[in-house]
């Protein structure tokens, strides 16, 4: 076989993980080629001008868990990484003034005390417990996970490290940790709080991106994500990327190029060539082919192994496991261009409460009802919505006086039991706008442009299998040393020299960059 071009490493897909992986490899002196199917870089972390003058964070909309050491390692700030922190999480309510939670604890206490004095005071205790849990999780997410059953010294050390982190918690927090990893978000919050209203937005962060309800066991641990930033040394890590989340990806891309990587867009890989159990190169849709020592895929495990490699090259056990690996996308996105700031009926001023996270999750039961509706295969008529108005903080994304309202919506199950998403798309979009309009009466009059992304659209546009935003459900049996599937948790695949670096690997989804970094280190043979 002869190839057109030779590289040390080919990275398939220019999601932020792929780009970070490429940057680390290029920094280590490898000749790296990144191949991206679309005309833009970033995958699900992408900015696009969908309507003249408006730059949308089309898919992901806030940056949360981006690993700060990657910013330092790759000097991303120099390449344009710029995240503006959010100060508030605002939950409008049908009655009263709604609930805003601020960075300042006293201010938050005052707000929460309107609903429950007890909760207001326990809130710091809860945050403290979560911070301690975060320290435990940090020991997990910044490293390749140890596996079961291997007695390799590095593996044993990794377990020992985890054991120490766990022991360090002390009996009470160990108990909390055990609960955190097994309970549902709603049950876990019940351990602290009494007000269903406060529990609403808190529990909501446990279901983002999963097809589970707030009362489904296994959702509690996702709450941790909100507290991880506090301990990263990158305080206030929740924020808007300037110029949309694509800004993060572009910074990664510039860093990669600066280290010498080559990036090609509109280069859709159709096949990974396997010879003698080794990946030798890739073939594009247009027939071009490239050869490399190592192939890294930023796509999710099923797309990579079944789509690009093909079942004949895989052990049958693995095909079976891949078939069982759960995607079940459940989220939609509605992007709106507005000709002015909408007003909340419950807190009409244009204030700081609108500059952060806006959560439509009035209480726990609302969320559970949204799930109950969706679990049989229809979209929630009164969905959970997480909205942001980035243009109030970052003027670069919309023309002066105009605004962007970006709404993440759940639940919109990928598998509809009736109809198709093409047919349902607009009605789903209407339901979202109606729900929002019940809190912002003037919203509908301000809409200049609307984009509705259903899980089906996300699959088409971003290549997210079944529209799962995290490349596979973040449920307990698909995490840690079992992500994506048991026995394949170290970024490796059964095909020698083919690696995975997307969100379908440990530690999972979100604009984190950890998968890309850890994959690169695995390839380079660095200890992780």
């Amino acid at each position: 076989m002869s190839f057109g071009h030779r590289y040390d490493v080919i990275v398939i897909g220019a999601g932020h993980n792929g780009l970070i992986c490429a940057a680390y490899l290029a920094k280590a002196g490898r000749r790296v080629l990144v191949l991206e199917r679309r005309h833009v870089l970033g995958g699900a972390a992408v900015s696009e001008e969908l309507y003249p003058g408006f730059t949308f964070s089309v898919a992901s909309y806030v940056v949360s868990l981006f690993r700060p050491h990657i910013i330092r390692d790759l000097d991303l700030a120099r390449h344009g990484y710029h995240v503006i922190p959010m100060d508030c999480a605002f939950q409008p309510l049908p009655q009263g003034r709604g609930l805003a939670r601020w960075s300042d604890p006293d201010r938050t206490r005052r707000e929460v005390a309107h609903f429950s004095r007890h909760d207001a005071e326990v809130y710091p205790e809860f945050s403290l417990a979560m911070t301690r849990m975060g320290l435990l999780a940090k020991a997990v997410i910044d490293r390749a996970p140890p596996v079961l059953g291997s007695l390799r010294p590095s593996n044993v050390r990794a377990w020992a490290r985890l054991g120490r982190a766990y022991r360090h918690l002390g009996p009470h927090l160990q108990h909390v940790a055990q609960k955190l990893f097994t309970m549902s978000a709603a049950d876990f919050l019940d351990l602290w709080f009494e007000s269903p209203i406060l529990k609403g937005p808190l529990a909501a962060s446990g279901i983002i991106g999963t097809f589970k309800g707030v009362r489904t066991p296994g959702t509690a641990y996702v709450l941790l994500h909100h507290y991880m930033g506090e301990i990263d040394g990158a305080f206030r890590s929740w924020g808007f990327s300037r110029g949309g989340t694509g800004g993060v990806s572009m910074a990664c891309a510039r860093a990669a190029c600066a280290y010498g990587a080559e990036i090609r867009t509109e280069a859709s890989v159709s096949k990974v060539l396997v010879q003698g159990g080794r990946a030798r190169g890739v073939v594009l849709d247009n027939g071009d082919d490239f050869e490399a020592e190592v192939i890294v895929s930023n796509l999710d495990p099923r797309r990579t192994l079944e789509g690009l490699v093909g079942a004949p090259h895989l052990p049958s056990r693995l095909t079976e496991q891949l078939r069982r690996y759960k995607y079940d996308g459940s989220s939609g996105k509605v992007n709106l261009a507005l000709d002015g700031v909408p007003t909340f009926a419950c807190r009409p001023s244009v204030g700081d409460h609108m500059r952060g996270d806006i959560v439509i999750a009035p209480d726990v039961d609302y969320l559970e009802r949204a799930y109950d509706e969706a679990k049989y295969g229809t979209w929630s008529s009164r969905p959970f919505i997480n909205a942001v108005i980035p243009s109030l903080t970052d003027p670069s994304v919309a023309p002066p006086g105009k605004h962007i309202l970006s709404c993440f919506v759940q639940y919109a199950p990928y598998h509809l039991n009736q109809g198709t998403w093409q047919e349902e798309r607009d009605r789903f979009g209407d339901a979202v706008v109606d729900t929002l309009a019940s809190y912002m009466p003037d919203l509908k009059d301000r809409i200049l442009f609307r984009q509705v992304l259903t899980p089906w659209d996300m699959e088409q546009q971003f290549g997210l299998t079944e529209g799962n935003i995290f490349h596979g459900e973040l449920s307990l049996e698909q995490l840690f040393f079992q992500r994506p599937v048991p026995g394949m948790a170290h970024y490796r695949t059964p095909i020698a020299s083919l690696f995975l670096c997307g969100s379908g690997t440990h530690p999972g989804g979100g604009i984190m960059g950890a998968s890309g970094e850890l994959a690169a280190k695995t390839i380079l043979g660095h200890p992780t």
Binding site: D106, R110, E121, P124, L128
Partner: protein, 400 residues
């Protein structure tokens, strides 16, 4: 953020524009450009301090005494009506969660005051007791009237003979025709009273006091002057001298009452209370830490400045950063840390409160405290002292 009930008055009086946040309230750090004038008012005439941000809870019900005895390290059941007790409360491991005062209003009603919210902690123990906890923080304004002339001012404004009121006593008094609660307590270590005023009457009482106080050189005083006074008096402050066990991120940040100078409030041999078992154990052994005062040697300080050709220039503001304390001048063996300190204008001493290893906390022991003079780190001798640097007889005496 919100102002206290006195906010409108303070806004006019606060020339320095120096404010602070206290439990989510705006509080004046110092009214005047020179805060030590307020300090001198407190020490030589009288000062009026707005302490409304204190958290206040009314505990009512048949079992309220039993409930509070269960929560507090002090046996509140024995507290007489019209008396106030200073106490702290702990978690199961005997680590302090908060400190404050408990006033017995009558057989079945208590007022608990403290710096940080503790409503949910008090409520945690309600099960099995016939008692209720009401948060009256926003309903009650609070003023501290402190200083040698505090009594005279209070007498003149209330027209009541309160001269016989003993230290830590409480009673109802009419001020400007408004019924308020007065307790002979305070945070300055001097003669003084704290006034608990229904929110609606707050401004009237404030005005009446300031008017009557004119004849006694009364001044409104801010938190900076208060801080200087409390350090002189050896009173600890939460978040500075100790951290609540509920909010401490690591074990090492928790303290037992014995370690922060509150050992005397613990009454061990009685009905069960939270932390009893752990405290019994600790009382029998020796706690590793002790609260102590440090008298930082002035002539050494002066000499250090002189080496640079400078006159000694210490800030007159109180500080609360943690400063290491060593056994030796070479700064090799750390034996503790100072938590807050101030130049005491009255004593003409540079003093600090410190947490020290128990064996080093004996008064008279000479230790070394780190000090930075003109960009250089040095050590200065600091002699261990009882935390009560200033303790006048009038603090507790009764006028006849």
């Amino acid at each position: 953020m919100v102002g206290t009930p006195f906010y409108s008055r303070q806004l006019r009086l606060c020339q320095s524009m120096r404010w602070k946040l206290w439990s989510g309230f705006y509080a004046v750090d110092s009214y005047l450009l020179e805060h030590d004038l307020e300090y001198f008012a407190l020490r030589s005439a009288a000062g009026l301090i707005d302490v409304s941000p204190l958290c206040k809870y009314l505990v009512r019900g048949h079992d309220s005494a039993a409930l509070l005895s269960h929560i507090m390290v002090r046996n509140i059941a024995k507290l007489g009506v019209g008396r106030v007790a200073y106490t702290c409360w702990c978690d199961d491991a005997g680590k302090v969660i908060g400190d404050g005062t408990v006033m017995r209003r009558d057989e079945h009603e208590f007022l608990v005051t403290t710096t940080d919210p503790c409503f949910s902690w008090l409520c945690r123990f309600l099960y099995g007791y016939s008692a209720r906890v009401h948060d009256v923080t926003d309903d009650l304004a609070a003023l501290a009237l402190q200083g040698p002339y505090a009594r005279d001012i209070l007498v003149s404004v209330s027209g009541t003979a309160i001269g016989d009121m003993r230290y830590f006593a409480a009673r109802d008094v009419l001020v400007a025709g408004r019924p308020i609660w007065v307790s002979r307590t305070g945070y300055t270590g001097d003669l003084g009273y704290e006034l608990w005023i229904p929110r609606a009457d707050a401004l009237d009482v404030w005005d009446a006091l300031l008017t009557a106080g004119q004849s006694y050189a009364l001044r409104p005083a801010g938190l900076m002057a208060l801080d200087m006074c409390r350090i002189e008096a050896g009173y600890i402050l939460k978040h500075v001298e100790y951290h609540s066990a509920l909010h401490a991120l690591i074990e090492a940040r928790k303290s037992s009452p014995y370690e922060i100078g509150l050992g005397w409030t613990v009454q061990l041999d009685r009905s069960p209370f939270v932390g009893q078992r752990a405290l019994q154990l600790e009382a029998r052994t020796r706690s590793p830490w002790r609260l102590a005062g440090l008298d930082i040697d002035w002539s050494e300080t002066e000499a250090l400045y002189r080496r640079h050709g400078l006159p000694p220039a210490l800030s007159t503001e109180p500080w609360r950063t943690s400063i290491p304390v060593y056994r030796d001048r070479a700064r090799q063996h750390q034996v503790g840390y100072a938590t807050s300190g101030t130049w005491s204008p009255l004593l003409k001493k540079n003093i600090a409160l410190a947490t020290l290893r128990t064996n080093c906390a004996v008064p008279g022991t000479r230790l070394q405290i780190a000090m930075q003079v003109e960009h250089e780190r040095h050590a200065v001798t600091a002699t261990v002292h009882s935390p009560r640097f200033f303790d006048p007889a009038r603090k507790t005496s009764v006028a006849i």
